[in-house]
Every structure is written in C-alpha cells, then in structure tokens.
Symmetry: D3
Subunit: 324 residues, 6 copies
C-alpha cells in the first residue's frame, strides 16, 4: 500500500555484498513471540499506513494456542503498541459472528474504509470479512465462502465495479494441495464468478511452490499490473517449507497472470526462520510502498514478525525476467 | 415435486409382509447400465414432471468413463427415451462453460423454468447451474461456489426472496468427511450467507451416516417443513456404503433441521445395489409426489437407476418419530 | 462346547464330491439380516447348548446401524427365536455399565454360569464381560482391558486356577494389524500376565492371515490341546477379506501354539459371503461339538449367520498335518 | 499368438443384439477357482498354442493363499488338464531360484522356445524369466529388474536384434500408480535402454485407466503395429476396478504408441467378475489369434479364468478410431 | 515428591521481568546428550529424593539408537553420576523379563520401596513395572497392560487400598491420538477398573493439547488434589510439538479431573528445545517439591534433560484459575 | 579413493577429549548454501582426487529449487571453485539425455575415466550414468535401471569383469522404505544379476537405520573388504533423520556383507546439521583416503557440504567390533 508523505517509512538499504533482489531487516524479528501478555507467538500479520503512522492487525496465538486477531499501532512501522485484548467484532452486514478461531489477517483500504480479511473458523476454515474506519470498531460481514478456504486477500480497488478477492480452496487439515482463485462480489455479501488464477508449479520447474501456493500481500497497482507477494510450499521429508515469490496480474483481468517468479524471492535461512513453532516458514502478509521502496511484513517460523526490503522497479524487473 | 393430475404416476403398492416405510420397485432397475449406446452406466439421475409426462437429466458415464449429463423423456416415469448425445450448454449468465466432467444432476422448477444443478469439474468438483424451459436448450450460469463441492441441491422456491441451495463442501478425492450447508443468492450468480445445516451423526447413534452426508432430492414443501431425502455414508473396511435417510427442514429458516432420521429409510440389499461399479450404494437424486404417494429415483451401485416408494404421511411420521 | 445327549444337534453330512475338511450348511444363511424387527443385519453371534436346546447371544445392528446384543433360543440350533429387545445389563462386579456400542459376542460356560464377552465401546473398543445363569438376567463386570481391544474370548475352564482370555489389541479404526494375546485373572475383575500367543503369518507362507488374526470360537478341550477356530485377514486392493482357520493350543500353557493351519478351513465363496454389508467375510464366533461332529456358527459378510460342519478328528488331523 | 491350422480354436460368435467390439464366452468361467486340488483360485493365466492344442501356465493361489504357477494342457482351449504340482524351476542362466511367490504369468514363443515371465517375489515383486521347450522342464533366468516391478510381458520377436519387454514399475503394496515402460536385452540376462511407453490417462478423458495401467497380453504383430491388450485401473471409493483396453505400438520402435483405446473394451459386469476374491477385476493375460479371430484369456475377480472374443480387423479399427 | 530437609534442593529464582508461572534453569540442559559413553541422547528421565541426595532413572539411547534405562545419583539434583551400564532386571513377580526396548521412566516411592514404570517393548509398547529398594537391584513385575500403551505413571500412595496408575492407550507407531486413563491393582500384578480420566482438548479451546496428552510427573498430593504435570501435543505441518500443562485430580476419586490448564505452562522456545533429535519437545517426567518450591525435570527435544521451576501455590492457583 | 602423493590432503586431528571414531572439521561447513550465484543450497556432493588436487561434482538447487549438478575444482579439498553453469551432457552410449532433475552425485575412477552416477529424473527418479576424462566434457550413458531408484554408487573396479553398482529401489515420493541392492553390467548399458545386499535394521537393534538405508560413498578396497559409508534413516514424529554408518562388503562377492555398524558413526548434532532446508540430515557422498586417513564429504541438512575425519584402521576395527 502506498505510503503518504509524512510517514516514517521502515527501511534499510541492501547490505554490502548482497546481490539478492530482496533482503532482510538486520533487526529482525521486529515483534517477538511474547510481546503480548500471555502470547505464545505473534506472526502472519497485516500492516497499513494509518494517519501519520501505521496500523496493524496481528495474529497472535495465546498460551492456550487459541488463534486470534489484535490491533496495533506504530509511528515508524517497526516499533509497535499492540492492544492485548483481541478484536471484538460488531455486526456489519451479518449478525452471525460465530468464530472458532481467527488467523492470518490481511488489511486493505478501499474507497472509504479499511477491510480486514482473515481465516475464520466456521465449521472449518473459511474467509472472514470485516471493515473498520478507525481500527477501534470492527464490523463483521458474511463469510465470503463455504469452508474450506484460506488466504483470502482483497484487491485494494473495485475491479469492474466489483470487489475482488483472491483465495485458496483448502481442506480441514494441513492441506497438501492448493491453487489461487479469484472471486467477485457486488456488495461484500454475495460472491461469485470464481476463476482459477494460478496453480502450483511443476516440481522440476520450481519445486519451492510445487505443493501449494497462496496469496500473500494485498496486490499493489503498478504500471505492469497488480504486484502481489505470495507464498509457495514444498513438502519435504520433514514437512512443509514456505517461501516467498511474487506475481504480476493483469490490471483489468486480474485472473490473468502476466508474470510469476520461478525463483523465490525469500526462503527460510535465518535462525528465527529456521527454528520456532513451525520451522522453515516465510509467510508474507503485507507490503507497503513508498518512493520505489517496498517493505514486506512476513511471519517467520509461525512465531515472530519480520521485515524484508526491496526496490519496486528491481522487483518488477526480476519478476518479469524470471517468470515461470 | 408435486405431479399434475393428468400424469401417470410410477407406483407400486407395499409388498405383502413388508413393514418398512419405503419399499423398492419390483422391476428395478428401471434403467440399465447399457441403455445408452456406448454407456458404461446410468445412475444418480434427476426426474421432474414435464408436460403430460416426465423429463429427466441422467448421469451416464460412457465406456471411456467420462461423466456427462443426458436428457430423457418418459410418459410413465419408468420407461425412458434418453437422448444419446450429452447436453450441450449455451451461455446463461456466464460465458465460461468450461467443464472437465459433469455428474449427479438435480432438477427443480422455480417460477418460470427448470433449474439444473450438478457436480461440475472446474479445477476440482464444484456446483454447476443451468436453466432450461424445454429440456432442449440449456443455459449455463456461473458455478455457485469455489471448488471443492458436491451435491448442490436447490430449493423449489425462493426463500425470503432469495434462491437457496444446499451443498456439501468436499475435497478433490473420495472425501472422507462431509456436512450439509445452505447458501443464498439474489440472482443465481453471487452466493453468500452460508450456514451449516446438518452434520454427520455420531458413530454410536447412527453409524450409517457417520462419515459424510449429502443432500439428495429437491426439498418438497410439506406442512411440517421441507422434506428432503439425503444420503449418508459409513466407511467400512471395504470402503464406503451409501444409504438413504430423510430430513425435515424449517420452512422459513431452512438452515434449521426440525427432524432427521436416525434409522435409514433404504440401504443396499438387492443384488443391483450390492454389485456393480461401486457396490453398496443407494443414492437418491429425485422425488416426485402425488396424492400422498412418494416415488424416489435413486442410483444403485453407481451403475443403474432404481425406484423406491412410500406414503408421504407415513414418511413424515417416521421422520418425526425416529429423529436423531 | 460339548452338547448334552438329549439335544438335537444341527448337522448335515459332507456333500458328495466335496473333499474339504469343513463344508457349509445347504440352507445357509440360517438367520437373515432382517429377522429382528428394525434390524439391518444379524451376524457374528454366539451359541451354546442350554437346557434341552440352545441359547444364543446375537449381534444385530439396527437400521440406525447401532450395534447391540440380543438373546435368542432354539430347539434345534438352526431355527431361532430372538428377543427383539437388546440385552439390558445389571451391575455385576461393577456399577459402570457405560457402553457406546456392543458387538461380536462370545459365550462360554464356566463352573456355574455362562460368561459373555463382547467388544464393548468405552472411549474406544475394549472387552466387555458379563455373566448369566438363565439368559434372562445378565450381570456386567468390569471391562477386562484398557481400549483398544477386540475379539476377547474366554477359555471354558480356569487354567492354573485363573480365568484365561484371548484377545487382540487393536486401534480405534479398521485396525490394519493384530495378533492374539492371552491374559489371566483371579477374579474376572483384574487382569494380567499378558502373553503373546500367535502373530500374523508371513505373506508368502499364508497370505490369508497376513494382515491380522483374531480369536474366534471358545477353545474346545481335546486330547491334542485347545482347539480354537480363528479368523485371519488379508488386505486386498478392495479391502479386507476374512477367512477361518484353526489352532491347537497347549492345554496347560495355552499361550503356546502347538499347531495352526497354514491353509484356511473356510473362505468366502458363497453369494451370502461375497455380497452384503461387508463382502468377503467369514467370521467364526461359536462352535458346538457332539460325538465327533463340529458345527461352527459364523457371520457372513457382516450381514447374516451361517453354519459350517466338520468331523472333529478330521479337523484336528488337518490342523496337525497342515501347520504353519 | 497365431494358431496353426490344425488346432481347434476356442470361439463363439457375437451374440445377437450385441454391438460391442468384444464379447464374452457364454460358458464363462472356463476354469473354476477350485479346479486344482487345494486351490483357492485360478486366474490371470497365460495360454499359447502348443503341438496340436494348447499349453498354459496358470496362476493359482492355494488355500494357504500362496501364489504359484502351474502347467496345463488343452486340446480345445477351453477344457484344461492342470498339473496340481506347481512348476519347479531348474537353473537357466542363473542359479538363483529364490522366489517368495510367483504370479501373473505370460508366455510367448521366441525363435526356438517358449519364454515365461511372471511377477517374482524377491525382496519385493520383480519380473521372473524362464524358458521351456516342452512345458515340462522350465529353466529359470536372472530376474529382469530390480524390485519393484510387475506385469512383465515379452515381445514375441527380437526387435533390432534384442529381446524387448514391457513392464510396470511398482511399489511393494497395492501400488496406486503405474505406467508402462519398455526395456531391451541382448541376452535375457542384462537389461537396459529403458523407455517410457505409455502413462495413465487423465481422469476427465478416460477415467477407467487413470490410476494405473499394465501390459496384459503378449503383443501380436499386425500390419498396423503391435496389438496389445492391457489393463487399466480406476480407484473408486471401494477400491480398484480393473478393465481391459488395447494399444497399437510401432513395429520398429515399440516404445512409440500409435493408438490406444480411450473407451475400454471390456469392464467388469458379469457376476463372476463382480464377485470373488477381488471384485470388479478383468485382467487380460493372453490372446490367441486365428483367421481374424481373437480370443483373450482373462482373469476375473482374481478368482477364475474367462474368455472374451473379437474380430481382429474390428478391434484394430476400433482402437484406431477411438484413440486417446 | 516431597524432599527431606537435609537435601540440597535444585532451584533458581524467577528471573527479573519474567511473569510466567514457571521458568527455566539458566544452566539448562543439566545433562548433555553425550554424558554417558556411547550415548546418543539422555532425556525423559525420572528423579526422586534418595538418602541425602537424589537418585534418578534415565532414558538414554545409545549410538545404535537402542533405548534403555540407566541409574544415576546426585547430591544436588543438577550434577549427576550416571552408571554407564543399563539397568539389568531381576525377577520380581514374574520371570518374563523380555524387553525389546525400555524408555520414558517414572519413579515413585510407595510404602517401602521405589517403583519404576516405563514404556516396555513387548510386541509393541506397554507399561513395564519394577521395584527397587536401593537403586542397585531392580525387580521386574508383570507388564501392567496389553500393548499398546505408553506413559504409565503410578500414584505415590495406594488409593482405596489399591495401586493406581495413569496411562495412555496408544498404537504401535507415532500414535496420532491419546487420552489418559486410570487403572487399579490390588497387587501390582493384575489390573482393572479402567476409567477414562482426561481427553484431548478441542482445537479451538486449547490447541497445544488437541492431538494427544499423556501423564508426565508422578502426581503430588496437595490440599486441592493430586497435582500432575502432563504433556500435550499438537500436530503441526512439521510434525508434533510437545508442551507441558498441569492438572489437579480429585484425591479420593483420581479419575475425576478438578482443574486442568487451558494455557500451557511451558512450551518449546530455547535452542535446546527447538533443535535436537526431535525438535520442539518439552516432556516432563518428574517433579520434586520442597517448601513450596517445585522443580520439574523434563526432556528437551528428545535429546537432553532440563529443569523448570515454580512456586507450588502459584502453580495451583494458576491451574485453578485457568482451567479448561 | 586413494590420494596420490603430491596432493594436499584435507585433514584435522581428533579434538582433545573426543573419543569418537570419527569427528567433524572445525571449519564446517566448507561450502555454504549460497556459494554459487543463485543457489539455494549446495550439498550431497562427490569429490575425487584429480591431477594435483581435487575435482568434484556438486549438487546444487537453485533458487527455483531446481536440482542440478555442477563441476568444481580445489587444490586442497576444502576451498572450491565451482562452475556456476550446470553440467551439460553429451551423448555417450545413448542419445537420450532427458532429465527432469539431477541430484546426489557420486564419482569414481575406473580404468581410464571418471564415472559419474546420480539420481536422474526420467518419469521418476532412476540412476543416471556419465563418464568424463577431464571434468569438462561429460558423456551420458543409458540410465541403469527403470524408475524408481536412488543412491546408485559404482564400485571403483570391475568385479568378475563386470561393472558393479549399488542402488536402492525407491518410490516416487519420500520413500518410507529402502534396502541396498547390487547389480552388474558387462558394458555400462545393460544391467542384471540383481542381488539384495543389505536391508534395514530391526528397530530394537539399530533404530537409526530402521526405516531405510542407502549406499553413500564409493566403496574403498581394504584388506578386510570393501569399506563403504552409508546413510540410515529413522522416521521420527517430526520426519526423517539421516545418520552415517559403514559396512564392509566381501571383496569378491560384494553382495555379501561381512560387517556393518550397529552404532552410527556420525549423526546430526551441529547447528548446520540440525537446521537448514531439511534438518537432521547427515548424508555421506564421497570419501578420500591417504596414509590411513579418511576424509568423508557429507551433505548437512540438505543445505551445505561438510567434512568428517577418521583413521582407516580405527574405522575398520570399529565396524568389525560393532557389527549388527
């Protein structure tokens, strides 16, 4: 999401000797697993510019390992005040606020308000939707889909006058498959026109994304198309490994993938990515952009929140030149 | 579906000595597996009264075991002329007619036309929708849901001014789980307000429906509520066994189950149910009703079409008195 | 169990041309699946001589597919009157009568009463125990073991002054493994001294019993040892197939197998064994003996009860000459 | 295999009203499961013309369900005398005659002798090879491959001066996958030049062969290419179903598939195919040809041997016109 | 186990800034994986006060990864001398000393001797029992149960004049399920009166203990009931994660759970818990108590032994206030 | 492979206090995961003495996680120059150079050239073969076997005038089983005379190698027999753990195992073995020997290359004295 001018932008230059398109923040993780009282972990969280700083919706599992969403605010994007009480929803276009668990939020601003989507437990995982104007009051809407679904990510604009959402049909467990679809809605209540957007890659072409893929950050409008960071998963003999790539979708027909990274952009390598509740996970949930600088918020090892950086033009060039 | 007066109604009285609520047609199966040229099987098919007789949409797998839908007509409901060419869809509210396979149709009349739903292959199974006025031209609409879904069954009326559909979220394989949900649509294009309707039964209470359940016949309005025949599945050490039960749903809030059979109404016992491409399957897809008589069309052993009969008042009484 | 002199003994001579050690009753099945009102199936049942005839405890699943035990009486061992009400237990040496389900009974007379064992659902399958003097009042005792266990079969005498029971440790599902153990009890309340008795056979030596085996009939004292019919299972690409063999255990150290059939004695071949709720199942639960004649009661296809016959001396000779 | 002129040829004309390319023998099965003393089943067996009649190698599982090979002879191809003693191998080009089990034989004549291949148990299934001049003495050769492999079928001629064998790499269990490969040998001892010949079909195009396929009968030279009947498998919710198709391979480059049936030629439908030790299996192992008549020997339900017939020109035409 | 007055008690105060109920020893692990010659790992071990210091029974896997039990002694509870020879059992109330492997010991003093229980390999895992007076001679008793069972933990007193043992019925592999049961014995030879004590928690309420749970430390008598630390397991997409909670059982009816932690008390976070032979394991096996101080010995990452501390009153208060 | 005299030999003495037969290089890993541009990992690689130094063939997965082979050269065996372009094969005794992926190389010199074997993707993993004289031009030969196979390792001499190769039949996934076989070839084109060499160990005897084993380094001729380092795998509840052992095979009949380590020689313990793309992997691929010193190159955590050292006489003595 493009940052307004007055905000401080969280950023660090590419380290000497680094030739990668994207690099990590030297002070990662920016949020520790115990930074909320009684928390077990804080990760896979969404950040947007808000007022003169930033607001965020954070996934935190408490020490009972109950998954819930929390609001936080920050002036600089790296130091956060997180409300220790989970978000309590109010009725939006529905009275059904049932939720067995909430996790993996994404946030985007559309027209006049911030929209929050997340994985919502209703007889299995599906996509929950809510909106807020102020990150204080959240109004819940109808779940977008029937279970089982995860990784619902809204586009930051209506497309052809309809809301558009990426998502990944799933199963009720660890889901050993998964492709990205798009759906449309005139009103954030009823959804349809479901199309397959992108599927897992062949093992021999791009094994890091051969088991499942899922939308990650809210797509960002560029001249070349919607830029979206996504995660890809390979199933090793020790379980799943999550890495980050990027795709560029057609601006008007976003079900059309124009480019998509064959190499990953970021894969687990640091100790906070290699150890934790779920080792070897890099899971992007939000990206902010300012003056050609891109900062990605990603969950590491299902335990903490970390940052990665890159230059927008370089990323786009890389995606276009290294497309699957 | 209630039959008009002039139609012949397929029916046979309860056999002597039979105390069951429902019983089989003595001439079952009414449609053999090879009754379409090049067919491997004809089963799980839908029938509605049409003009002075009946029209049907039939699932037939050809000898390449490709699954498709075929139209048939009958004067008496038991003898059928089936068009050997599969239905070819025309654009309804969509131009996307992609379909890897089509199976398990249901048909109902709403307002001014016949609506057809089926399991439609689009990157996995989902619910296809089409309408026809004449069983000659079929107009395909947007798939109701993202994959993976099966057993989409429309209510025969709008409820609260919206179309209503039962369905069963699934996976991409043989799906070892499955509960029935309801969804609503203002326009047969966008769907939402998803609610869980009924779940599998506990093993110790009603094992025949402890693995998965799915909507079967189009719900039929009665004073006591929507009467629907459904299938339940138990996973034996030789695979799945499908039986038939019935539920009564609240007329105004059909997500509310008023009654639901703890005992099954029909379970595999005849040789055409116990042997075939998938032994031990009884799978109801359509029910027609006239003057308190109910005739259910069900697929047997994933191979042939068969009939079962019962008196409406007795069935309702049984469901109410033997509710889970 | 040895039959007293006045009883009619169910028997049919070996058919002409048959060279098998054991053969089937020409009027099989002797009990049909619907022979109890509301029953779905009657199978895997136990029979003992009682008064001038026979008493039996029958497994019947009702049409809700709830598994329970029923009492029946017969004068000739083939025609049965079965009480349509399931057995209701009274407290024996326990007040805990909890049972989620009851199935696969065996019955034996020890000292002064008839002991009934069965697979009892208590947070998973385990072995239930009860006794009766008259097949009217049944007194339930403590479950013999922790879950998960099935096929608990008592010896008809105390051995070294202790009750002895064969059983098969299992899991909570269809259990793809299983060996036979023996346990001892001074009082039918506490059990111990668990020993492994016999294990599955190597695939290349006796594939019909390579997946799991389980005690079948109550062991019968012979000069050569305890003769017991048991079931063996092979896992085919269409699921389990159950066949019947026999073993001879040492009279004083019954954990010691003296002989055990490498070939089966009976395997599914008749239509009532090849089709039904679980095709390809032959499951022996009781054997009665009189004047060198042996009659085995076995469940067929998890659906009906059938009989097989043989001469005791021939069976023993066969087991000894064809031992694994 | 082409039949010499003096032989009686097993044949029955197409039944009235039958429009299928291939049809069954009205007296099927020609060999019953108990036709060898102590046999449990006789199926998946190979037949070749021999002297003035026919010789065969039969798979029979005995009542211990040990799998072995037996020799038989017949004057007319339908009535068989089978030697009740399994084949005992003598050393051919190897002294290693180890075999945990032997099953699914195929036989072909090359140059001066009959070659037998079968699934040979050596630390898992692999392809055993032996030759005989007289069906009395069999000389075993080195196993063709490392485990795990099944369905090894030799071509009836050397191709480019090398022996050629089709086979299907497998696993050690029920193998839920399987494609057909070809390998070559200069000497029946060392094998190489492995090439993939044909793979399973996409589910939506030809579901009966979407799980695995395997070579069936010895390829028969025709003008259009090598005609081979093969089996295809679909995994239903009740396990595998085996059907029969045919392929035509290039005469000089037999790794090249010219045509291959999209529809099956024969799928389980008769009671001896639908019930038995493994229901719903049609498994072709041998074909004999004379004057445009083709007779296929196939195993039914892993229990018995049956025959199917067709006209060679019609079969070839069908394969060419209905190719996947 | 309450410590006598003269012993040194292993203890470290709560670190500054720590608000957790329990905290780790700063010098963890106290025993390294190679601290026994030829050992691969030392973990999941039991400690009791003994004479003026402590005795322990240690699980160590040697470099062949054979699991066995070893005796050790310590004056202060943190520095240990471990006998490099595994314990060799002598006959107690049984002569059957067969054991394929021994692991996960617990020790408690009852009346006049120390009782050792462990997971004993006898045709699968079950609960081994032995006693010792001096930690030199160990006398083995009959296995408590049939396989498959793990985590057998004795109460430190007879209850209603019977020995009482917690255990967890299991399967023969990694066991993806598991609830805690209690059994009673008059004589440490025969066991019965099996009752279910506590089951896994619902995923949405307490996911860290939603897959399986098992008794950990010997229950400690408090006014509020038996305090027991136990482990809970969640199955992540990278395998199991073991955490520690606590329960309070009714003093007289210990099958009754009075309180049980919804949040965990300790979950893997330190590098010696997050890496090792089995990462992400915290597995409590023993607790010692003195003057309101509690020290828990737990295995970390199936590799080393570590300590955690807490105040008894605070732990009890926490369990009561945060009960599931 | 024995080193010529002029080469520098990579070596480090046994650390003080270390009593293990083999020990690690203090500067491990010698090759980092990013040491090739765009690499994700470099591991499981083969090294041989070449000219005055060493040549190596390296497995590197690039950032698309495509697996390929790369050539490198080193003067001292620890500092490497790796060509960033993968090896491009030329036709050797085949024109079929198809390869979906290449990984896990081994290299050995036989007679006049260096032979390279690797896991080659051709419709599944099989063993690729190539030769080179100069590590510049590589000539590919026919794949040795049908899929599915891995860990093909050539002997450094012909045995009985034939090439000999160890390999491990596998499946197409993570292969939860695996034994080592040997095959022979007169010409590096056709292979046969397959024999089972060694199988997994019983869990209770040597659990680190109870799930699967695979040949590791090229066997090295010693007086006692062929010394080969191999890997063994145990399946933990967090996935596979790979350790290293050694075996001594008979010089003339290498299918005969003379000795084989019951304890492992090296198992994952260092942070570069415990964390990475696949934690807990020690995977030996090459060994060089000079003057009684042995240096093993092994892949660590499927991420980097590391070294281990030992004295030849000590290793042989250890294998002989600690044989399974």
């Amino acid at each position: 999401m493009e940052i307004n001018n007055i905000s401080f932008f969280p950023w660090e230059e590419r380290p000497k000797g680094c030739n990668d398109v994207m690099w990590r923040y030297s002070k990662n993780p920016i949020i520790g697993r115990y930074d909320i009282p009684n928390s077990n972990s804080i990760f896979n969280s969404a950040v947007v510019p808000f007022k003169a700083g930033y607001a965020g919706v954070f996934r935190s599992d408490n020490k009972a390992v109950q998954m819930n969403l929390y609001v936080g605010f920050s002036k600089n994007g790296t130091d956060w005040e997180i409300n220790p009480e989970p978000i309590k929803m109010k009725p939006g276009n529905t009275n059904m606020l049932d939720s067995e668990y909430k996790y993996d939020p994404r946030v985007t601003f559309i027209e006049d308000r911030y929209w929050l989507t997340w994985c919502n437990g209703y007889h299995g995982p599906t996509i929950g939707i809510a909106y807020t104007f102020d990150f204080v009051d959240f109004y819940q809407c109808e779940n977008a889909f029937l279970p089982f679904n995860r990784n619902g990510v809204l586009f930051p604009e209506k497309i052809n006058n309809k809301y558009a959402m990426l998502s990944r049909p799933s199963d009720n467990g660890h889901t050993p498959f998964g492709d990205v679809f798009i759906s449309f809605s005139p009103d954030m209540k009823y959804w349809g026109e479901h199309r397959c957007v992108m599927k897992v890659a062949p093992f021999e072409k791009s094994a890091w994304q051969c088991t499942k893929i899922g939308a990650g950050t809210v797509p960002f409008r560029t001249e070349q198309g919607w830029l979206m960071f996504y995660h890809g998963v390979i199933n090793t003999c020790r379980g799943y490994r999550y890495s980050m790539g990027a795709a560029i979708l057609d601006l008007e027909n976003p079900e059309k993938v124009l480019y998509r990274t064959q190499p990953y952009l970021l894969a687990p390598n640091e100790i906070y990515e290699l150890t934790g509740d779920v080792p070897n996970v890099v899971f992007p949930c939000a990206a902010i952009v300012k003056n050609n600088k891109v900062t990605v918020y990603y969950g590491a090892a299902d335990t903490v929140v970390a940052l990665a950086f890159g230059y927008l033009n370089e990323i786009i060039e890389f995606v276009m030149n290294n497309s699957l």
